[in-house]
């Protein structure tokens, strides 16, 4: 664990793995350093945003002294089931990149439990990590300017579902009618960090 400066109101904590990110994020969320405004976990970092008047060196000392253990409690949580029609435009490309056939891609996607590591990109978008690495693929070489709401994609070590129409560079394998962002709900997002997900065939 090491820290990097991020202006006068932030501290970027670097970690070696996504597991360490999740553990540190859980630890910080349960007992935030004094002055914390927001925690932004990502693939290998946790950004700690603090109030303008906060003692940033003190926050750094606090963070570096932590020894978060493994994330517990995740296994007992509720599992959200998302029904997917697997007719994505990039299904064949994903098959080619992974050395699987399209049917095996679908089996790999539906055959494991995914966990939301963190949110970002757009409200309600969760970065899901799987139990194995069969479906690790690069982003598309060129981004699409319009990806429809409900599109299910893969990029790097992650899977995700576009909550609303937006530009995007993920490899699209299918689509779902599951509404992932609804301001009339509290919380409005379905895919919160720690939520577990099973994809099933629609």
């Amino acid at each position: 664990m090491r820290t990097r400066p991020c202006g006068d109101t932030g501290l970027l904590v670097e970690l070696d793995s996504l597991e360490e990110v999740l553990a540190l994020h859980a630890d910080l969320a349960a007992d935030p350093p004094s002055g914390t405004v927001d925690l932004v976990p990502a693939a290998r970092t946790v950004l700690v945003r603090v109030a303008a008047a906060a003692d940033l060196p003190g926050v750094a000392t606090d963070v570096l002294a932590r020894e978060p253990g493994a994330v517990r409690g995740r296994a007992e949580g509720e599992v959200v089931e998302i029904a997917v029609t697997y007719d994505g435009e990039d299904l064949d490309d994903v098959a080619r990149h992974t050395g699987l056939d399209p049917e095996e891609v679908v089996e790999a996607h539906t055959g494991q439990t995914w966990t939301v590591a963190f949110a970002g990109f757009t409200p309600g978008f969760g970065y899901l990590v799987g139990a194995d690495d069969r479906l690790h693929v690069l982003r598309r070489e060129s981004s699409r300017t319009r990806v429809p709401a409900g599109a299910v994609g893969l990029a790097g070590e992650f899977s995700g579902v576009y909550p609303r129409e937006s530009p995007g560079g993920w490899q699209l394998v299918g689509r779902t009618d599951h509404v992932l962002w609804d301001l009339d709900r509290d919380p409005p997002a379905v895919l919160l960090p720690g939520t577990r997900v099973r994809f099933v065939r629609a």
Binding site: R4, C6, L12, D38, F118, T122, F125, R164, P188
Partner: protein, 285 residues
């Protein structure tokens, strides 16, 4: 209630605070691009600090007031008239019922803030009335013909003030280097260069034109896993041309951030307009 007659290039409802603390939903902070100016306009009409006002980009805004109101303008000094008579920014202005308020184009700066005593009382979304144009949160961008509700007058009186002094700036933004300055062959080039603000500019950020910031050899063709960014982060995509993130920046970014503008100076950045020059001065924290 006020009725919008003209919006100029873009007018949005904003508040100072935005939506902090919701990164777990993928929701960014948003709020006024120049929070200091909106805070001042609110103070000048006796509003609470969290009252919403209008962020008017490059002037051109007009509205009719069916009932009398007290308003104040701050930020970019757009000329303002009430029923054709010139009025002053940076002080409380009484707008009589049935009259029209009009803004011209500001000679400097980019965003003018209009506070109305009582605040713009649109429904808050996730605790804020700010429009996040990228995330699609908060009220829609203000359009011609919109009727905007005004809240009831706050308990605080309109302060007895003649004129609040406008802030001074010298075109320099203070930055803390990092978090990814080591990704660049010559991070000092960023500090010693004058940068020109391009017209690729919105509430998300502003793109700068200047020398190409080349990656250090060890980081050529390396992809950065997305990481959290803040208002003021200066992100450098492979083109080598930096973007300074403003109010509606994404929660995470996928390109290295060479430096971060200190929080107070991001309000100054929110007033930069295309063609202006800007320099960065290193500070330590």
């Amino acid at each position: 209630m006020i009725t919008v007659l003209a919006t100029g290039p873009q007018t949005t409802v904003q508040d100072v605070r935005g939506r902090p603390g919701r990164a777990d939903l993928g929701v960014g902070v948003s709020g006024a691009a120049d929070r200091r100016a909106l805070a001042l306009a609110n103070r000048l009409v006796g509003n609470a600090p969290d009252a919403a006002g209008l962020e008017i980009t490059l002037g051109g805004f007009a509205a009719s007031f069916p009932t009398s109101a007290v308003v104040a303008l701050a930020g970019a000094p757009a000329p303002v008239t009430v029923d054709g008579r010139p009025a002053d920014p940076h002080r409380p202005v009484v707008v009589p019922g049935g009259s029209e308020l009009r803004l011209g184009t500001p000679p400097t700066g980019l965003r003018t803030y209009l506070a109305v005593r009582g605040g713009i009382a649109v429904e808050p979304v996730l605790g804020s009335r700010a429009t996040d144009v990228v995330a699609g949160l908060g009220p829609a961008v203000v359009g011609e013909g919109d009727e905007l509700p005004v809240g009831s007058a706050p308990a605080d009186p309109v302060p007895g003030i003649d004129l609040a002094p406008p802030p001074r700036t010298d075109g320099t933004l203070r930055v803390v280097l990092g978090p990814r300055d080591d990704w660049f062959a010559d991070p000092a080039l960023f500090l010693r260069s004058a940068w020109t603000v391009t017209d690729d500019l919105n509430r998300v950020g502003l793109r700068l034109e200047g020398p190409e910031l080349v990656r250090a050899e060890a980081f050529t063709d390396v992809e950065l896993p997305s990481e959290g960014v803040v208002r003021g982060s200066v992100q450098v995509p492979p083109s080598g041309r930096p973007t300074v993130f403003l109010a509606d920046h994404p929660v995470t970014g996928g390109y290295p951030v060479i430096a971060v503008v200190v929080d107070a100076d991001t309000d100054v950045a929110g007033q930069l307009r295309p063609g202006e020059q800007v320099r960065f001065r290193r500070v330590y924290r």
